[in-house]
């Protein structure tokens, strides 16, 4: 891994050049010199220096996130090669949101495990952007998610569509919205819950000019009464309040068991595409393609068609 970036990470973690120097077992002037050089090559100030240490600038923050990612990718590469040398197949790890996992990925993974007990598939659950992160750093080989709107194409992912899904709205039993079909405005009168937590550090994945959604919604942090990356927490919140949980309709049956019911929609809902995200680089690898085929087949029997 690049020396300057490694040093940059150490400095950022330590919060000071001298602290970083201590952990790196080099001297502080060296770091002063090298970080200045890094700033020159990047073309932006990375630190605000003061007599109390250094603080990352916004550019430094961006670099930090990405350098961390590169660092992880590098480590993963080394251990992948080491695995190859030992002859142990590297396990495939699949990322997924909880919905897909519960719906059909679970069975698929269990079958796979029975078929290839020596090289099982592992699963990492999380939200889309987190999974994207993990895929880029080599932690997972592919993941299932909604098509991500406005994703920067230069990060080099393939998207394989599997199914059309729409967002449904779920509320607790006896909620005023239930009983008759409702339009969007009626639904919006209630507080909203969404089960994803956009983190600003993921903004780098997006290409603002490509977003279909209108500008306002991007800035609207107040539109949702409750946001969480935990679906269970969202369900709890929906059960306890009048708020409306918006989520893929494919979870309807599971939600019904928890006590949440779908609000009938009087307007045609907005359709999303769900599918598999995979790195362009990994297309063509035998096991990856095999897994994609299996997932596609399972999706074809379980999910609404395209």
């Amino acid at each position: 891994m690049d020396k300057l970036l490694t040093q940059f990470l150490a400095v950022a973690d330590a919060g000071s050049l001298s602290g970083g120097a201590t952990t790196l077992l080099i001297t502080q002037p060296t770091l002063t010199f090298n970080m200045r050089k890094l700033e020159e090559t990047i073309g932006a100030p990375l630190f605000e220096r003061s007599s109390r240490g250094v603080r990352l600038t916004r550019y430094g923050e961006t670099l930090y996130e990405n350098a961390r990612l590169m660092n992880r990718l590098y480590d993963n590469t080394l251990s992948a090669i080491a695995d190859q040398q030992r002859g142990t197949e590297r396990g495939l790890t699949v990322g997924s949101g909880y919905s897909w996992w519960a719906m059909f990925l679970k069975d698929l993974v269990i079958d796979y495990q029975l078929e290839f007990p020596k090289a099982p598939v592992q699963v990492s659950l999380g939200n889309q952007l987190r999974l994207l992160d993990q895929m880029l750093s080599g932690d997972i080989s592919l993941f299932l998610a909604h098509e991500i709107d406005g994703l920067n194409p230069s990060i080099g992912t393939d998207f394989i569509p599997l199914s059309r899904v729409y967002n449904a709205h779920f509320v607790h039993q006896g909620h005023p919205l239930l009983g008759v079909p409702r339009n969007r405005a009626e639904i919006n009168e209630y507080p909203q819950i969404i089960s994803s937590l956009a983190e600003s550090r993921h903004e780098r994945f997006f290409d603002i000019s490509r977003r279909r959604t209108r500008v306002e919604t991007v800035f609207d942090r107040t539109h949702y009464a409750f946001r969480s990356n935990s679906l269970a927490a969202c369900i709890d919140y929906a059960l306890a309040t009048e708020a409306v949980l918006t989520h893929t309709h494919v979870m309807r049956d599971a939600f019904t068991k928890s006590g949440l019911f779908e609000v009938e929609q009087s307007e045609p809902p907005r359709i999303n595409v769900a599918g598999i995200y995979v790195l362009k680089e990994r297309r063509g690898e035998e096991r990856v393609e095999d897994l994609i085929a299996r997932i596609s087949a399972a999706a074809a029997t379980t999910l609404p068609p395209l």
Copy 2:
């Protein structure tokens, strides 16, 4: 990006050390030396060398894929930082209160986005002092607000007046204040609502000796029955109680639609000036001045004249 990995990619692409040397503008022995070193640090042979060139081993293949990814990640990072620079140093984030946003800034920003999709204007909504904070820390380039009374001149802001506005008082239908003109004392007998949330950490912006009104009122927590940074919340409160919402008169039409009506004032209302705050040091920057011109033009057609 790491030098050895870059060279590795070039060699792999060229299919030979000497070919890679040619594209990298270095000599072949250097590459021989460096690739051997890379193999040592990785701990696996990366090439099969022959007198016809080199071929990747399976370890080399693995490294190649991941190095490509790292390469892309690095390039993406650089361009993300470059975008950030455009978006902050040269390009623009505009701050605004919700009223100005809804009234004319929204359209202006959307037009701007269409005109310059690569360097759009971003918007940060919030109250005056928060915006001031953000401008001073470089997050936004300029913002729209009322002239802030008693602002400490040493913080280095320019104020460009755009419009005269006055504070009007809004109440729900059937409110006792409606029907006849009222003076300030009569209005003050009702609880007050204000749609801004002063934070005490902003006190540093003020120069007490210059204030026309007394400092206390700004940070006075008791004077208002309800304060929120959410205008929607204030409207809800005004609709549900007898309290009086004080807000710029320019929002009158919007409020009427929500069910709030203006109280006639028997005394000449206090006139405020609304305009653009911008850092002195950013005056003269082409895009900043362009944006100021656009905002001024839009304000001239939408807002009451000075």
